[in-house]
């Protein structure tokens, strides 16, 4: 082909034809249509789903699930931060304690941890400091208390590794610059290192939190009234098993979506000063 001085800006442009996309969308729509049809004619009593969606017991259970997850995550992140700092301490006693804690609470299955805390009274009938303050373990270790302790310690161990990797990702030059303007370690952590590490750890911590929201269903084994357990309690009586499971699923999706919005907002805020990562494809 010989070279001609054409200008493509002056020429008609052929529309790209995305046959693949159209075909894909068609197949997807057919599948979706079939699914909707299946659920519509299936033996599902949608009226019951609607009736129980805002049932007081379900709403209370949603609240309890959120409460347990938020409080455990908050305590967990605080424990995790200190553990992460402890892991990199120059003091060998502190770094060993931190490593041991992570090993123990990350290694033991959470279901067993829940049962152990709840049944603590079997080996320690009384807890406290002898002579100063003592109490019956059975009274203290309510389902809520046992679940909070178990999930907080479990999350502390998991998040400590996430937070540690966040701290390691901050450039050593930042520590030196902070020191060179006379900052103490604590001040440098609060003002310089922490905020930069936070930006890195928000996505994995959000993931961890969403995992915890759903894992909190396990607390039903010790009689804590969270969402999944409450849905089960209701269907044991009214026998609407699938309907109640759908109600619970819908609520989990709603709560996770709400927190994902929060994560999006937080990430935008913390991205100030950093160049955004681009999209591809």
């Amino acid at each position: 082909m010989s070279i001609v001085a054409i200008d493509i800006a002056q020429m008609k442009r052929a529309k790209p034809r995305h046959y693949g996309r159209w075909l894909g969308a068609l197949v997807l729509l057919l599948c979706l249509g079939y699914l909707v049809y299946a659920f519509a004619v299936g033996k599902i009593d949608w009226g019951t789903v609607g009736n129980y969606l805002f049932h007081p017991r379900i709403l209370w259970a949603v609240g309890m699930t959120i409460f347990l997850s938020v409080v455990s995550m908050t305590i967990g992140v605080i424990i995790g931060t200190f553990t992460a700092l402890g892991r990199s301490s120059r003091n060998p006693v502190i770094s060993s304690i931190a490593a041991f804690y992570t090993w123990l609470f990350r290694g033991a299955p959470i279901l067993l941890q829940l049962l152990i805390w709840y049944n603590l009274a079997l080996i320690f009938p009384v807890i406290g400091i002898p002579g100063i303050w003592e109490a019956d373990t059975v009274r203290i270790m309510s389902p809520l208390a046992a679940a909070l302790i178990a999930f907080s310690l479990h999350e502390g161990a998991y998040t400590s590794e996430v937070i540690r990797s966040g701290l390691l990702s901050v450039d050593a030059g930042q520590h030196e610059a902070a020191k060179s303007i006379g900052m103490s370690y604590g001040l440098a952590f609060r003002r310089i290192i922490g905020p930069q590490a936070l930006r890195i750890v928000i996505p994995p911590l959000s993931n961890e939190f969403i995992g915890l929201l759903k894992m909190s269903a396990l607390a039903s084994v010790i009689g804590f009234l969270e969402l999944t357990g409450t849905a089960q309690d209701i269907y044991y009586v009214n026998t609407k098993i699938m309907e109640m499971l759908f109600v619970a699923t819908a609520w989990y999706l709603v709560v996770v979506s709400m927190f994902s919005l929060g994560q999006f907002w937080l990430e935008r805020r913390l991205a100030r000063g950093f160049v955004y990562g681009g999209k591809h494809g």
Binding site: A177, G182, M183, P195
Partner: protein, 261 residues
């Protein structure tokens, strides 16, 4: 009597098995500009980091503003100072790094007021006024609200100089402040440094910019393999060096190949 701001007395420093500094003795008088030159790996950065206590020394003694840096001597026994004391000693000294090390999550202005507000506990209003003045002085009044990622290398380094000056240091340390910059940006940073020198600031500058050393330095120190090889006026060390090692380093730099020196 006027004692030197920095007095290194036979300072030595080792990393594991590697002897990075051996018997380094350097005095820096008040208001003096001292340039340290030497081949890569000769211990220039390490010496600056010792002055600012980012590293601790193993032998000899290092005095900054009349205080023994990092240690306290009591009845012939040496005690390491607590971290809080070290932080206090450290902010007498401003440090400018080769790779700027600005805080990326803070704007230019916020980088500068960080230390004055949180370390010196100055009122915010006062710190802001001073920071605006410093930004104007380094020619960046219009960039107060820019994040480091939005500034060129030369602009970042000028903000870093302003950030160090904001702590009202008695001494400024510069570690190859222009060697991470494109050639056309070197001049703007050197100009700011000359301006700082002209205000009478005591400065220790590690640099490969021999013209800057000739023009601004009161004293030039040539280091090699962790030792001070020779010290003197820029003219003496850079034009008529006595030592063979200095001569070979200078000819290597002039032929544009400092690494091989």
């Amino acid at each position: 009597m006027n004692s030197p701001i920095v007095s290194a007395q036979r300072v030595s420093k080792r990393f594991d098995k590697f002897q990075a500094l051996t018997d380094v003795s350097i005095d820096v008088e008040k208001g003096e500009v001292v340039c340290i030159v030497g081949p890569s790996g000769s211990g220039k950065t390490t010496f600056l980091r010792c002055i600012n206590q980012l590293e601790s020394i193993d032998g000899g003694s290092l005095w900054v503003d009349g205080e023994l840096a990092g240690y306290r001597v009591e009845a012939d026994v040496v005690h390491r100072l607590p971290d809080k004391e070290i932080a206090r000693q450290r902010h007498l000294t401003g440090m400018v790094f080769q790779r700027f090390n600005l805080f990326p999550h803070r704007t230019a202005l916020e980088n500068i007021i960080e230390g004055p507000i949180h370390v010196l506990r100055q009122p915010r209003r006062e710190a802001l006024d001073m920071a605006q003045g410093l930004l104007a002085r380094v020619g960046l009044a219009a960039k107060a609200g820019s994040y480091p990622s939005e500034l060129s290398g030369g602009q970042q380094q000028r903000v870093a100089i302003a950030r160090a000056l904001a702590m009202k240091p008695k001494l400024m340390l510069f570690d190859e402040p222009t060697s991470a910059l494109d050639a056309e940006l070197v001049g703007e940073v050197l100009a700011v440094m000359k301006d700082v020198a002209a205000t009478g600031m005591t400065m220790v500058v590690v640099t490969h910019e021999l013209n800057f050393a000739r023009e601004v330095a009161d004293k030039v120190v040539f280091m090699s393999e962790g030792r001070v090889i020779e010290t003197g006026s820029p003219d003496r060390v850079l034009t008529n060096p006595e030592e063979a090692r200095t001569r070979s380093f200078l000819s290597a730099v002039l032929s544009g190949n400092s690494e091989a020196a």
